[in-house]
């Protein structure tokens, strides 16, 4: 691994903070709609596009964008039908795309550092990448604010929103495209193997501490920022890949939060028992 410079650290922090906003908002959607499996799949599907880009000599990022968006819409359709084969189909789709990417990468004569894709490499982010992250962050925020009420209704009780006349399918298409793009960005930070952790952990922790939707979203963004900043600092200090450090912090926080919740609940139970006695 190349030495991480001070400029790279700056880029990483800017990108990381922007990505925190994205994954905070999208993470809540992923958690509430139970799309953890799907987003894990998408991260791997993207590698098909990367391989295609490497083999045919066009920017791998473009291939990845096309693959993740197409994958998001495709898997989204499958999810809607939701029967016992959906899981299997997502699994097959995910591994075939990954295999396709790996095959093409190996056939191309370019020497690729697999680790960067697998475990993330935010330190190599160029200015153009930062602009892209910025663009997606703006899009996610805009959609979140513009559709706030319908989004909340959709997440809570989709069927009722539809009865009410809300164009649920249109909203879902927009969300899935955003999910594809944001997965790609999270992937640049933490790598395709670790994406799921950054989606799932922060909102799951947030939900333990507040029962207000707005606060859940804000808290997830804040937690994301904390994990990312600490993770990047550790990665810089130890000169290691950003992904493992960030996910390790997020995972540790999740287990600590779960433990605190458990202790609290125990104490409450003991309290009521002593009251009853």
């Amino acid at each position: 691994m190349e030495e991480i410079t001070h400029l790279a650290l700056q880029h990483a922090l800017i990108g990381g903070i922007l990505a925190s906003i994205i994954s905070g908002i999208i993470g809540v959607i992923v958690l509430e709609k139970r799309l953890v499996m799907m987003s894990g799949g998408l991260a791997h599907v993207s590698y098909g596009g990367i391989g295609l880009g490497l083999y045919y000599h066009f920017p791998p990022l473009i291939g990845a964008i096309i693959f993740t968006i197409a994958g998001a819409l495709g898997i989204g359709r499958l999810n809607r039908r939701r029967n016992e084969t959906t899981d299997v189909l997502i699994g097959v789709f995910w591994s075939v795309c990954m295999a396709f990417g790996v095959l093409l990468t190996q056939l191309s004569d370019i020497d690729v550092d697999f680790d960067n894709y697998l475990f993330g490499d935010i330190f190599s982010a160029k200015t153009s990448t930062l602009w892209m992250i910025f663009g997606v962050a703006v899009a996610v925020l805009l959609v979140f604010i513009a559709f706030y009420h319908v989004l909340k209704a959709y997440l809570f009780d989709e069927e009722y929103a539809e009865v009410q006349g809300v164009k649920v399918k249109g909203l879902e298409t927009i969300l899935f495209i955003l999910l594809g793009l944001s997965t790609l960005i999270i992937l640049m930070m933490v790598g395709l193997v670790l994406t799921v952790g950054l989606y799932a952990a922060p909102p799951a922790i947030a939900k333990k501490f507040t029962k207000d939707f707005k606060k859940v979203v804000l808290l997830s963004i804040l937690l994301n920022m904390i994990f990312v900043i600490i993770g990047i600092s550790i990665a810089y200090a130890l000169q290691i890949a950003s992904g493992s450090a960030i996910i390790f912090i997020a995972g540790a926080a999740y287990f600590v939060a779960t433990f605190i919740e458990y202790v609290r609940r125990r104490r409450r139970m003991v309290d009521t028992e002593s009251l009853n006695a």
Binding site: E32, I145, A146, F147, H149, V150, K152, A153, L155, F156, D157, E159, Y160, A161, E162, V163, Q164, G165, V166, K167, G170, L171, K207, T210, K211, D212, F213, K215, V216
Partner: protein
């Protein structure tokens, strides 16, 4: 509705059902599990497409009748752990029939929610998360959400399933009261007390097997 058929992946859930509900009626839909009761009301609500037939609601095609019907789903369809307050759940009933781009609720929406909460005596629950309520309270919240749309008709999918007897009775009394102003169509598959409240019954097992006011005789119907 006229000769309505609903299919899922070529499996017929509802076959050739014709059913008329008069304004002001309180119709209980009865029938065995898997007999197509839920499919039938999903078809009325335009949640599933019709394989054949047509449905008219107050003279309009059912696909254009959004807002005329207040829907109360089974409690199991939504996620009780979702972080949302009672007031926000009820406000859902005021959502527009569109994509809702930059939609904001007006003061009139808020006032209507307050009025309905008062009517159902749940105003003290307004800021509680939905997950903390009892079954009966939740049911009232769902009823309130359906009522803030100012519907002409209520459709309920087993509103009293998993409620204790006193809560059941309370909900039925409420519905009876509401029936003075609204038409009610309600699925009920295991509770015979509904027949003290409903004005007529439709017994459905894929096909419409019985429709009428002899509400007590449906036990025999199940065996024929």
């Amino acid at each position: 509705m006229d000769q309505v058929t609903v299919k899922y992946n070529h499996i017929v859930a509802v076959h050739n059902v014709s059913l008329a509900v008069e304004e002001g009626e309180f119709v209980a839909i009865a029938g065995p599990n898997g007999g197509g009761k839920s499919s039938l009301i999903k078809a009325i609500l335009d949640l599933v497409p019709l394989a054949s037939g047509s449905i008219q609601i107050f003279g309009q095609d059912h696909r254009k009748a959004k807002g005329l019907i207040g829907y109360i789903p089974q409690q199991s369809v939504f996620d009780s752990k979702f972080p949302i307050t009672v007031r926000d759940v009820i406000l859902m009933g005021r959502l527009p029939a569109s994509l809702g781009f930059f939609h904001r609720f007006t003061r009139k929406d808020e006032r209507r929610v307050d009025e309905i909460m008062e009517e159902l005596k749940i105003e003290s629950l307004a800021d509680r998360p939905i997950g903390e309520l009892s079954g009966g309270q939740k049911q009232k919240v769902l009823l309130a959400r359906a009522l803030v749309t100012d519907p002409k008709m209520l459709i309920l999918d087993e509103p009293t399933a998993s409620l204790d007897p006193p809560s059941k009775k309370q909900i039925y009394e409420l519905l009876k009261e509401l029936n003075k102003k609204l038409t009610i169509l309600m699925i009920s598959h295991d509770d015979e007390r509904i027949f003290d409240y409903a004005t007529s019954v439709a017994y459905i097992n894929k096909k419409l097997i019985y429709r009428g006011n002899e509400v007590r005789s449906f036990d025999k119907m199940a065996t024929t």
